[in-house]
């Protein structure tokens, strides 16, 4: 009530009428194109693009000039009908696109279909400035250009349009201790020198994804500057990231206690500044135990790779795929049920979803584009294997997962929470044997073990005593070593 009264009081009558009239005349126009855009994005973008080449169906840019409006209208409404009526264009299209059927849209009203066609007709490609530089130049830059590019990349020289940006702050030139979702400088360079890779002029002037647009906000590059960046990227392409340095905590502990012990011995034997010998003895005892502890840990960890979490060629996150999206582990690693190894998924498994999902949650388009490049060029993606057993130990996934019904998490840890896959367990022999000793075999509930029913014993109260994997021969040497 109050609001309404205020509304009327604030707007004088003639002004109100003018506003009303303009609103009434503009409203249908606005909603028309707006609705058409929304409808297009909802129904069409899955199979069609505007100006980005064919997907499942043809690129629709300029289709309103190629075909008549009535034809478009009836084809959108029910494409099968048009094809069956023998329309030559429709039949030819049908043949050209491997006879894939475009779903009919009989649920859309006449107005809505017209809105979509209007939107397609009004759509114009984003105007790309005509540049007088060679956009495809990828090699053969001068050394001075590279040096200038490097300084620009590190933000040592301000941009012409103002501000200086340290690119290496986000695009690493050194391996990092945690996951950085932005492509590293080397990644950018490799994508740049690949002829089917990115066009640096286009992507710096018009960011390709919302992620990139947000990250590059306020940055304006001139052609000359992009040319220098290109020179820098061309120079570092194909090299490897520099090693990230960490503070050597264990080394410092080792040296520190070594130093303390040396002083304690010198004081004990020669200088004798401290009266009580208990102090020297305490320092020596603690020092020796720290040193032997470190030596023990180091000796034990030889040949073991617990905590190994290598950088992968694509920043694939198990947290997003298995955790957030709740995809079953066995969808991608589908051979785990019947094979010795859980397969590393091939790129066409990625494409089952990523033919539609083209923008990553955290990484924009850059990482997913790597899959497309691999698929289009047929080159395998060189994933780094994390869990490795020595060759003299035999391990079979099918035996554990399919027959024994062991959950993936038991050995691989909480993979659904890992952005970078990390080896959680040490995969040592003691770890294997301990699990075989502790794990009970489900003889009654699991058919696979039905032949071991003779092993079941009951105690005085009639309760079934557990049968472990060890009891059925799980710790025999030849089980794993032969």
């Amino acid at each position: 009530m109050n609001l309404k009264a205020k509304f009327y009081r604030n707007i004088s009558m003639p002004r109100f009428i003018i506003v009303l009239i303009t609103a009434l005349t503009l409203f249908p126009l606005l909603t028309f194109s707006q609705e058409g855009k929304q409808l297009f994005e909802k129904h069409c973008t899955v199979c069609h693009t505007l100006g980005q080449g064919k997907l499942v169906g043809p690129d629709l840019a300029g289709v309103t000039e190629r075909r008549e409006r009535s034809w478009l209208n009836s084809f959108i409404r029910n494409s099968q009908e048009v094809i069956q009526s023998g329309d030559p264009i429709a039949v030819q299209l049908y043949q050209e696109y491997n006879k894939s059927i475009m779903p009919s849209f009989t649920q859309l009203s006449e107005n809505e279909i017209n809105g979509i066609i209007d939107y397609i007709g009004q759509w114009e490609p984003v105007v790309v400035e005509v540049l007088d530089v060679d956009v495809n130049k990828r090699t053969g830059f001068k050394h001075e250009e590279y040096l200038r590019g490097e300084r620009l990349f590190y933000g040592l020289i301000p941009l012409q349009a103002g501000g200086s940006f340290n690119c290496s702050g986000c695009h690493n030139t050194v391996t990092s201790d945690s996951l950085n979702w932005n492509p590293s400088a080397i990644d950018l360079a490799n994508s740049f020198i690949d002829t089917s890779g990115m066009n640096i002029y286009q992507s710096l002037m018009q960011p390709v994804s919302a992620k990139m647009e947000a990250a590059h906000q306020g940055m304006k590059f001139s052609e000359e500057e992009i040319h220098y960046y290109a020179a820098y990227l061309s120079h570092i392409g194909g090299s490897e990231l520099k090693e990230h340095k960490i503070f050597p905590v264990k080394l410092m502990l080792f040296l520190g206690f070594g130093f303390l012990m040396a002083i304690a011995i010198i004081d004990l034997l020669f200088t004798r500044r401290i009266k009580y010998k208990i102090v020297h003895i305490a320092i020596l005892l603690i020092g020796i135990s720290v040193h032997s502890g470190l030596a023990y840990v180091e000796a034990r960890d030889l040949s073991r790779t617990e905590g190994y979490a290598p950088d992968q060629p694509i920043k694939f996150s198990h947290k997003i795929h298995a955790g957030d999206n709740k995809t079953d582990c066995r969808y991608c690693h589908h051979t785990v049920d019947f094979s010795k190894v859980a397969n590393i998924p091939s790129a066409n498994v990625c494409m089952n979803c990523h033919n539609v999902v083209r923008t990553g949650t955290n990484s924009g388009n850059f990482e997913i584009n790597k899959i497309y490049r691999a698929v289009n060029s047929g080159t395998p993606i060189e994933w780094v294997r994390v869990h490795n057993l020595p060759d003299h130990a035999y391990f079979n996934h099918a035996q554990h997962v399919n027959a024994g019904k062991v959950e993936c998490n038991t050995c691989h840890g909480k993979v659904e929470e890992m952005h970078i896959l990390r080896q959680e367990k040490d995969l040592s022999m003691g770890w294997c044997v301990n699990c075989h000793r502790d794990t009970e075999v489900n003889i009654l509930g699991n058919k696979y073990y039905s032949r071991f029913q003779g092993l079941i014993k009951t105690d005085a109260n009639g309760e079934v005593l557990p049968v472990t994997v060890e009891d059925i021969g799980g710790t025999d040497c030849m089980r794993c070593h032969y």
């Binding site: 499942v56 960490i246 070594g258 180091e298 030889l302 019947f338 003299h392």
Partner: protein
Amino acid sequence: MTKRPQLLILVFCFILAASCDRKRNDKGYEYFPDMAHSLAYETYQPNPNTVSGTTMILPAPNTVPLEMVPYQYSALPEDRDMAAAQLVNPFELTEEGLIRGRDQYKIFCAHCHGETGNGEGYLFTSGKYKARPASLLSEKMMSTNEADIFHVITVGYQLMGPHGHMIKPDDRWMISMYVKKELQKQ
């Protein structure tokens, strides 16, 4: 002269201790890795002896792997009709088969087509996957037979990729059976 062995020990300790602080990209050191690394090339290793440079290579054209029955239908719509008419489910309806079908359905199908088959799987409802997956409870799907579902799983349809290389033929039949006999009955 007496200082020298101590210096050596210190250097040795330094080297020993330097190995402990491992970076996440670092696998650490090995101690006598006898028989730890396979002499034969392993499946995913690069291989200098093959043309493609990989150990895993495509078999010669027209090779039929052991136990594999070649699938003669393509993804064209007329082949779908043909497959639906000609293929016969070799399995009888058993409870075990349905359970197997349900488990496999949950792994390979449910995240798009939904637990109940209504086409509202988690990938779609969470907004990650923009295209609406087909409902398995639509009239069109109710009127098809098991062989049709088997065919679509094998070669894919429209945006759905082929899953024939991921799911074994027996399991594909079990899934079709589960969809027909369990999901569509509800």
